[in-house]
Structures are given as structure tokens and as C-alpha cells.
Subunit: 397 residues, 4 copies
């Protein structure tokens, strides 16, 4: 069950850009990387303020000479070392992802990047091409997709337990920004500022997470068209939306909806996905991630629990239980599953396989998934800004 | 709490059309009418088969001479009696509602009609005009709207507990018709047959229920535009949909979504409504109707319970607790609340008030609400059949 | 599903003692008796104040000459009429149940009695002997036992779905009397006053309800010994307890616990029963009575829903669905099921069968069940008052 | 929120006994120790099989010369090094805890020990005296007590939000050993074998966990007497129980119950604690640990969520949020909180404070708590084996 056995002869030499002191996202990156000992932090540009970055790097046990003031210096200097970093995680504000990711690939690094990968489809395609050219892994931290029960759902769909998939209902609709809290909160401020956040707030910030859950559970479905309506209930956020509804049409006739919101007052997360098939449905909620509801039409609803023998054995190739069923696992374990999968992929590529071949063997959120997220957000924005019309998505894949 | 005290000197002389032996809906009509002794069943045309109708009427204790073969005879004969019926309930298949309701009004009867009132807006307007002309009450049995917690939500909105209403999320999405069960089930068969069901299946059959809950909770919101996508996952149901998604825009900027389905595999009802305001949200679920979730942003979520002193006292004017909090009440009590409100309205009209005046005093699902349901279904069908475009709804009210 | 079909040629002529205006329990008795048209209220002594009783009787549509000032007059006068009552329901304070029940039986009436039947085992045995001698049905209104899912659980146990029953965990622990509310509330006052309530408060008032659910679900288990600890957290209630814990030992090795409380602050009812077998468990909660949780060891937990085809067909002989699954039923329907079963039993006895024979055919809470409740409460009180020692219960049955 | 800031100049030099490859408990110890960088694993005796222990130690990155064949060698050799271990964690079968813990203390080590600390009160007292004499920290891994919401409950009790505590209802009742699975499962086998498990199975294995939650939430309550009934539903487990019920009396009149079970078929954990006060109750469930239910009598029930500003600020001194509210945390974070508190305590003692002084400042499960667990289990066994009688507990503290 606990896969302490799998690890590399030598952990991957790992660097970070961003994720400095007090960063929640930096902490979860470091924790997840360390969890299975596949990554070892050896260098970083942790903070936009170099002194703060150095202090925190020392605090984390880094060699001071490998605490760099910025990502350019980091990539340059490490490239010159025999023991330089092989992989870098990018945990900076959205507007910087593209350039840092591009520079990392150009320096021959594997990349683990916060979503969104970038802002435009063109940028995303540049990165995707570069990753293939350089044969480097680019993983995108859609962290919720590392939860075990998501992969149980994926196996159930694959095995036909649901019948033909007809409907996918998605939502990630919290209420933390029901008021204009950005006035007092820098972490919210940049998310609602177009120059730093890109063309969208909640569609990109939360919507793409649950969209990727759908992709993970039902990989065969191809988006055909979408229609979006978005709102800025806090007027000062315009043109960035704090609420959006999307309708989705998939090739073959399946349909979906997605609700992304930061103004769903009183809600914590409400990230939920329900996949409805011709015979049965599954439903999952990120606030109670160890359970998966399975409802066969005409039978009593079932509650599947993480860690139980009745789950499909195929799961364990992708996601681990780190403690027995009944005990609560949380987001840190889901992220650790992602990092392990990415580490495995990097190891195979390092051994000479092509990144495209590895995609067939090792599940993780790839650069193509990152690209699709960017395309989705842009298509939604385009649809909404044209008054809520159907926008073709089929050319995107 | 229990309002056995309110009743009429003489119960209203009540008749039924439809609702014969084995009819689930007939049983709940009779039960609800009897509950507060405001109605007394004295005549009926219970069955399309006159003999079966007579037998069942006798079984129900009716005078055999007042068990009629059809509604025409019923209305005619009763009109000729000094003690003839004053009010009739219509529990027949959808396609017959218009003509029976019209005939009832023409005979000067108050009417309690199953939804949908009729199929077209024109028909609905005919009935609405006739009801006003004849000064008769027409109540539409949106039964879930009689649950107490719906009215608690209504009071909370009215008092500003939620702040400004921004978003309404509605769904009534069961899974009982995930397969083509109509082959074996007459009750489903007519619902998916256009000649009997009208232009829509799930939008009308379940969607209008939750739409009316929204209307009850947030009466001031006016629908401005809607957009609908509908599907027939069981192909033989075409053009009637067994699944539909609707986006709603309200005057003033609020938005909503509505999901109506009969193919949500494994779901019982999943009739839920969430009203999101700038400060707080409320959420209600018809399968557990005695609770109302109240979530103030930044505060712990609360679960309000039927029958408790902390609820707004204004509720008790409209809906009754028939037993103390903690004990489960169910749909029969909700319907009984509707029937009582309709009885009260009829009594006031009988005393000489105009039905339009009574609308201001007595809440119940009126002919205008029935009309709005018909308009909504037709607008959805129009939108969907045009490929999912925005359809103006503002002229409808 | 809906059993409007079963009824008697003539409804049973039914009287009430107690349950006057404003009485919650009176209302549910009347409603349940009327539901299936097996009982017709024709006479009553509704109120300790004869004038109020008359006024309310008129209000209920009774003949004024059959509104009696007290139960003695009622029984006497009705016995003298050819069309006198055949059955009486007793909805008076606990201290009066014995004498009224005894008098009713002596007048040859069937009886439906609120629990507790009486205060002492001796009294209960007097009544039981009298009922058999007179061949009259005595039903005790353990109303929750009329819920459908309780009988599904009963069938599941009978069919061996749980394996051998090992453990029964029972609780009915509300919080409404966490403070000394009896100072302002007459309905609580008599319950905590020994002269009117008997030797116990919560053990009798709520504990026997859930005890009878256990009896219904697992009828074959015989109580062997009990041990009780009881407390009066509100000191003025002494010696009556407002909280009690009981351990139970059954013949054959099964064990149980029961928690009865009126000081479980913040709880509505929390009436729950869990029956644990060697293979599986079932759990039921009266606040959400339409669901039954079924947990097979090593399999996903299941949630069974009222009204579904997968329930055992045997249920429908005892308890009815009055509306389709998904719709909420409540306590009124559960009580109606009880009244119907009692009506059926009375009808069979009226046709000449012996009440003891009928017990084999028609499930309802019988005088023996009422007797067992009285014995249980007395054994608990004895155990607790001796310091919490094991008390033999085996001689009780 | 995330306390990466607190750490020691140098991590504590840490060793492990037990917790070898494939050990679930070893993994969580290592993960928790590493989480806040207060501990660094430098030496170990990981496995009863020295070769396997060495291989796994190498795998974990240990110096091979510090992978020892047994705890004696470990303590001896490390005591001779200037950089020898300062603290050891003991993750071996129950029967060995006492001797290893004693040896560790004699070698001047701080200890983190799996529960139970030992089997007899005498042993526990020996250890407690030794810890004080040597001025060493002994922490016991009651891991669930590190969940944040447990400490929110503790603060709520301390601040009087519940009023006077009256009742504590505890349970940890899983179903994994409903059948005699020990025949195939070594991990269960030793737990039901007296020589290795001690005098009790479920009371010690799961019961003491929830008992310590009660101690954490309501530290002022002192146990006065207990009564226990225990069963071995799988006969071959005798005299060890696989199910037990306990009644508890606290000084001052509060009461409690505790249900410990391994045969609660179909249950995952069902570890729940409800603390009932004169004004309100709190309830917590380890399977959904990020929520705490708070029920004020006469008010709507509230659901408090981890990570929210409305929680008491005092929490953060003891337990950390490692990611924002809404995201799921799990058992690993709870354990990490324990390890950090123990690390803090050890650091203060290393700086010269007495362990008894540190108890006043730093909350963690201390040797006294371990002692109380042992006393509780022994008292329960004594009570049960005497037929279920009240056993005095007051002399135990």
C-alpha cells in the first residue's frame, strides 16, 4: 500500500522559483516533492526580494551559493554545474509562468508548473512544442487530480461501470471573495488584476481544476463546443469574472456544465464532480475526498471508501494509499501522488525515453492538459464576451 | 403550531376530475384536501372508464349519483344543484388540463390544477383572463412550495439576511428514466409522448417545480432572458428532452442555472435550490425537507430545522407545523399547506373579495405562477430548438 | 403501493379520550385514524374541561350528544347505544392510562393507547390478562415503528442479511430540556412530575420508543439482563432522570446499549438504532426516516431508500408507501401504518378470531410490547437506584 | 498559518526502533518527524531481522554503521557517539514497549512511544518516575489528538461555550475484524494474542484513542469510576475482547460512555466524540476531521471548519493549519502537529527546563496520559471480568 519502496537511486536535483516564506503553495510543493524522496531541493530563487529569498533558503537548509536572486540567474548558474538542477518547480504569480517555463525548458530542465501554464493558446503551444523538442517533462499541478477516488472513478468509467457517459456536472464555487476583500489581501489582489492574472479570474483559478478532474475521469471525451456566461459581482473586478457558468458539449453527444465562483457566499470549496452514465453515476467532493458516491440506477446508492480492497487494483499504479482506509488522507497526499508520478516520468525520460512515449505509460497532468486548460479559459472568455454564444472547441485538440 | 382551529363554517364542496384508483396524485390531492377539513369531496369524474370511476367513487364514500362519467357531465350536473360543487381539482394527464380548467371556470368553479396548467402561453393567458373575469381562484399544485423551510428562506430573503441576491442554482434531476422504461410503464409513456405531454418532458415535469421554488423564495426577481440546451438521451423520446440545462438572467444582474433531468442515473430526486446573496446563501433539498442550510460568508454554516422557535414567526401565517420539530414531516404536509392556503383564498373570494386582491394577502401558487411556468417551458424549448441561444423573457411579465 | 383499496365495509366506530384542542398527539391520532378510512370518530371525551371538550368536539364535527365530559360517561353511554363506539384511543397524561385502558376493556372496547401503557408491571399484567379475557385488541402507539425502513430492516434480519445479530446500539437523546424549561411549559412539567409521569422520565418517554424499534427489527432477541445509570442534571427533577444510559444483555450473547436523554444540548431527536450482525449492520435515524444505511463488512456502504423496488416485497403487507420513492414521507405516514395494522387486527377479532391468533398474522405494537416497555423502565429504575447493577430481565418474558 | 518558521537551530538527532519496511506506522512516524524539520533520522533498529533492517535503513538514506540489529545495540552505540541520537521513536509490537522505553530513558533519551506505553499500571509508574528522574520527554502517539478541531473544542470548553460539561459520548468502533481475519493477517494476529497485545484488544487498541480525545477536550474532568462489559464475538480471541462498552463517572457528576469495537460490521472507523454541556454540545468524527459540529440548545446547529478566522486564535499555538480552510487535511497533518509539540517540549528540556514545567507550557500526549490509558484499560478489564461492576478510578490520579 505505502510505496516507500519505489524511489530513485539518486533523487532528482530539484530547484524552485517562487514559493517563498509564508507561501502556502510553496509549502505544499516542498512537502510533496519530499514525500517519496524522489526530489531533493538543492537550489532556488524563492523570493522576488533576494535577501528574503536567501534567508528563507538558508532556513530550508540550502547552500547559500545556490540561493539565487531570480530565475534567470538560477537557470544560468545551475546549468554550469555538474550537479546542477534537473527539474524546477514554478510557484510564482500567473503572469510569469510562461517566461519562466520557457526559460527552464530552454535550459533543458524538467518543469513542474502551477496552473495556468500561461495566458494564451499561442504561448501554450510554444511551450508544448518546446517540451517535445527538448524532450522534457512539464507537469501542471492540478493537485486534486491526485486523490485516489478520482482514479477509482476513472477506472470505473474505463471498465464500463457507468455505461455510456452522458453528463458531467462540475463545480468549484467558493465564497471567500463575496466581498471586495482584495483591498486588504494581496493574495486576492493579483488574482483579480488582469495584468497579473490573465484574462480570467475564477474560470482559470478554480474552474480548470474541476475541468481537469473530468478529463482525468473520462479521458476519452473530447470537448466540442462551450458556452459561457460570466459576471463580476464586485464591479471593480471587471472585466475579470468572479462567477461563471459554462455549458459544454462533447463529441458524441455527452454534455456538461461547470460552475466556477468566488462569490458563492458561505461555501468553503464546493468542488464537486458528478459523472452520469447510462447505467450509473459517480460523484466526488474535494472537501471529503476519501469517499466516492456510486449510484447505480435502481440500486441503493453506495459510498466507496479509500483504501478498501474492493477498489480496482489498477489504482495503485498511479495513486497510493499512505495509510489504511478509514483514516483521513488530505490534499498533501494527493499532491504527493502527483509529484511521484511526475518524478517517475522524468526518470523514464532521463533514461532515454521520449516524453510522448512516457505519456502513454505514466498518468500525470501533462503540458497538453495545461494547454487544454488555457484553451478552455480563453474559449469561455470569448464566448462570454460575445454575449454568451456557443464557441467551437473541437479545433483545440 | 397545529392549525386545527382555522376552518370554514362549512367545508367547500369539492369535486375531482381524474385521480382514480391507484393514482398517486389523486391520493395526495384527497389527503391534502381533507387534512384541515376545508374541503369535502362530494362529486367526481374519477376515471376515464366510467364504471371504474363509479366503483372507486363508491369506495370513497361518494353518492353514486354524483359519480360522473366525465368532466362535462360533472360540471353540468353539479351546476344544476343547489349543493353543487364550488371547487374542482384536476388530476388528469397534461394534455387535458386546458380544456377542463377552462370549462370549470366557465361553470364558475374555483380550480386546483395539476401543473402544467396548459401547453401554450396563449392558452395560459386565456385561462388567466377567464379566472379574473369570473373572479375564481385557480391554484396550481407546485406541492414542494408548501414546505415550511421554503417559506423560512423566503422570509430570510425578504429581511435581507442574504444581502442582495446574486445567484440561484436550481436542479431537479432524477434518474428513474435513464433507460427506456416507458415501454413497460404507462405513467412514463404519456410523459414522453408529445400529444399528451406537450412540447417538453423534464423542463415541464420537474423543472417548473424548482423554478417555482425560486419564485417563492425570491419573488421580486424578474426573469429577463434564458438559454437552454436540451437532450434526448433515449432517442425515441425526441423531440421531448429527458435532460436540459438552462441559464437564467434576471433583471438587475442576478443569474441562475437550472438542471432538469430524468436520466441522472442513480439519483432519487436531487431537487435542490441554492440562493446566493452578497452576504449569505440558503440551500434546500426536497429529500430532506425539514432542514435549511444557511451559510453566512465567514461564519460557520448553520442548519435550520423545521418547527423551531428561531424561525421567523411570519411563516406560520402561510405554512403550519403539524408536529414538533425533530419529527419528520413530509410531502403530504407540504401539500396540505397548499390546499389550506387555496381554501383560504377561495373563502375570501366567496365572501366577495376579488381574486386579484386576495393574491396580495394569501400566498399560494396562482394562475400567474402557472402561466409563468408555461412561458418558461416554451421559452426553453424555443431556445434549445434554435441551437441554444438567449431568448428574451422580459416581455412575459 | 398506495393501499386505498383495503378498507372495511364500515369504518370502525371510534372514540377518543383526551387529545383536545391544541394537543399535538390528539391531532396525529385523528389524522392517522382517518388516513385509510378504517376508523370514524363518532364520540369523545376530549378534554378534562367538559365545555372545552364539547366546543372542540363540535368543531371536529361530532354530534354534541356524543361529546362526553369524561371517559366514564363516554364508555357508559356508548355501551348503551347500538351504534356505540367499538374502539377508543387514549391520549391523556401517563398517570391515567391504566385506569382508562382497564375501563375500556371492561366495556368490551378495543383500545389504542399512548405509551406507557401504565406504571407497574402488575398493572400491565392486569391489562394484558383482561385483553385476552375480553378478546380485545390493545395497540400501543410506538409511532416510529410504523416507518417503512424499520420493516425493511426487520426483513433483512429475518432473511439473514446481517448474519447473526451481535450488537444493538440505541439512542433517543434530544436536548430540549437541557434547562429547567418546565417552569414555563406545562407539557414538560407533568413529564418530570412523578405523580403524573410515573417512576421515570426519559427512559419511558423516549427510551421505550427506540427499544421497541429494536424489538421490531430483531423480534427473536430476548432481553436477559440490564444495567442502568440515570442522572437528573436539573436537580429539581429528582428522582426522575433527564439522562440515562443502559447496557443490555440478550439471551444467546448479543449485547446492546441505550441512551435516553432530554439534556443532549442542541440535539433535535437523535433517535437512532444500529443493529450489528456478524456480516453487516443496518442503521436508521428518525430525523431522516426514508433512508436505511446498510453496511456489509468489506463492501461499500449502501443507502436504501423508501419506495424502491429493491426493498423486500414482504414490507408491503405491513407498511405502505403512500407516494413514490424520493418524495419525503414523515411521521404521519408512519402512524397511519400503525393505525391501519391495528384496524386490521380489530377487524379480524371482530370476525371472531382470537387476539392471540391475530398476533401471529398482523404486526402491530401489542399489549405485550406495551408490557415489555413498562418492565424495561421499571428494571432500569431498579438497577439505577441500586447503584447501577445488573438486573435480571429474563423472568419478564 | 503554516509554521515553517519555527524550527531548531539543529534538528533533533532522531532514531527509530521498529517501523521497518511496509510498516504503516513507521511511515507516518517518519513523515511526521520530517514535516517541520525538527527531527532528523540518523540511526535506527528498524526490523527484528537485522538484514532487512539494514537494507531498509540504507533505502532511507541512513549511514549503514548506524543501522543496528536491535534496540540494545542502538542505544549502546549511539550513547557512545558525540553525535548520537537524542530521541527515539518506538514503533514495535505492544509487548516490547515497556522494556524499550525503559532502556531508552536509562540511556538518557527522549522517547516517542506508540500506545499503549506498557501493560500494567506498575510498569507505567516505573516509566513515569524514570522520565521525571532523567528529565526526559516521553510522548505517546495518540495521533488523532493532533487534529485542529479537537483543540477548537478544547478552547470552546475552556471558554465556557458549552456551559458545564455533563456528558461525554465516545466511540471508536470499526468492523474490520468482524470475522476471524487474524488467521490470514499477522497485523491482526498479534493484536488478539495476549502475550503480545496485553490484557485487552479493542479497549487498548482503539478505546484509549477516543478516551484521550476526551481528556484533551475536557482536561479538568477526573474519572471517578468505570464499569465495563466486554465480549469476544470471535470465540478464539478470548479472553481478549473484540467489543466493549464502558460507562464512566467523573468527579462532579458528569458521566460518559465509550464503545470500542472491531466487530462493528461495515463501519470504517466511527471514531466519534460528543461532549454535551448545559448549554451546547460539540461533536467530532475522525473520518471527516476538518469539521466540528457545534450545537447550541435552541439555536441552529453549526458546522465549524478548519482554517477559518472564526476559530479561537489560541489554537495556533498548538496545532497548525498547513493549508487554507476548505482543503482537506488528514491524519498526517495531525501527527505532524504532535511531533512538533513533542519537538518543542524536548527543545525546552534540552535548554534546561524540567519536563514537569514544560507540561504546563506545551500541550502533547505525555507519559501521564499514557499512564492513564494503561490504568483505564486495566480498570475496564477488571470491571468486565468481575461481571460488569463499578470499579473505582479515583485513586488512579
Amino acid at each position: 500500500m505505502i510505496n516507500e519502496g519505489f524511489h530513485l537511486d539518486k533523487p532528482l536535483r530539484w530547484g524552485m522559483v517562487g514559493g517563498g516564506q509564508g507561501s502556502q503553495i510553496g509549502y505544499i510543493h516542498r512537502n510533496s516533492a519530499a514525500r517519496d524522496r524522489l526530489f531533493q531541493l538543492v537550489a532556488a530563487a524563492l523570493d522576488i526580494n533576494p535577501e528574503r529569498g536567501l534567508a528563507f533558503g538558508l532556513d530550508l537548509g540550502l547552500d547559500p551559493t545556490r540561493c539565487y536572486p531570480d530565475y534567470q540567474t538560477l537557470f544560468q548558474a545551475e546549468a554550469g554545474r555538474a550537479d546542477g538542477i534537473e527539474v524546477v518547480s514554478i510557484a510564482t504569480p500567473n503572469a510569469t509562468h510562461f517566461e519562466i517555463c520557457k526559460a527552464a525548458l530552454e535550459h533543458g530542465l524538467h518543469v513542474i508548473c502551477e496552473k495556468p501554464l500561461c495566458f494564451t493558446t499561442e504561448q501554450a503551444e510554444v511551450l508544448a512544442a518546446l517540451a517535445i523538442e527538448k524532450n522534457r517533462v512539464v507537469g501542471v499541478t492540478y493537485g486534486y487530480s491526485g486523490f485516489q477516488m478520482i482514479h477509482q472513478a476513472r477506472e470505473m468509467v474505463a471498465k464500463g461501470d457507468l455505461g455510456e457517459v452522458r453528463i458531467i456536472v462540475m463545480q468549484f464555487a467558493h465564497g471567500f471573495h463575496s466581498a471586495a476583500v482584495e483591498a486588504q489581501d494581496a493574495g486576492t489582489k493579483w488574482r483579480v488584476t488582469p495584468a497579473q492574472a490573465g484574462p480570467s479570474y475564477v474560470l482559470g483559478d478554480v474552474g480548470t481544476h474541476v475541468l481537469f478532474l473530468a478529463k482525468t475521469i473520462v479521458p476519452q471525451l473530447k470537448l466540442d463546443a462551450i458556452l459561457c456566461s460570466r459576471q463580476s459581482f464586485i464591479k471593480s473586478r471587471e472585466p475579470l469574472e468572479d462567477n461563471a457558468f459554462v455549458m459544454l458539449q462533447y463529441e458524441g453527444g455527452a454534455v456538461g456544465t461547470l460552475w466556477a465562483s468566488a462569490v458563492n457566499a458561505g461555501s468553503m470549496h464546493q468542488q464537486k464532480i458528478r459523472v452520469v452514465g447510462s447505467k450509473a453515476s459517480v460523484e466526488w467532493w474535494d472537501e471529503h475526498p476519501n469517499q466516492l458516491r456510486y449510484e447505480v440506477q435502481g440500486r441503493p446508492a453506495q459510498v466507496l471508501e479509500r483504501g478498501m480492497d474492493y477498489l480496482y487494483p489498477e489504482l495503485s499504479a498511479t495513486v497510493s494509499d499512505r495509510i489504511g482506509g478509514g483514516h483521513a488522507e488530505g490534499l498533501f497526499e494527493a499532491w504527493s501522488n502527483l509529484y511521484r508520478q511526475m518524478g517517475r516520468a522524468m526518470d523514464l525520460v532521463n533514461q532515454g525515453q521520449s516524453v510522448e512515449t512516457v505519456w502513454q505509460q505514466i498518468w500525470y497532468p501533462t503540458i497538453r492538459d495545461g494547454l487544454e486548460g488555457v484553451q478552455f479559459v480563453n474559449a469561455c472568455v470569448r464566448s462570454a464576451d460575445l454575449g454568451g454564444i456557443w464557441v467551437d472547441f473541437s479545433s483545440s485538440h
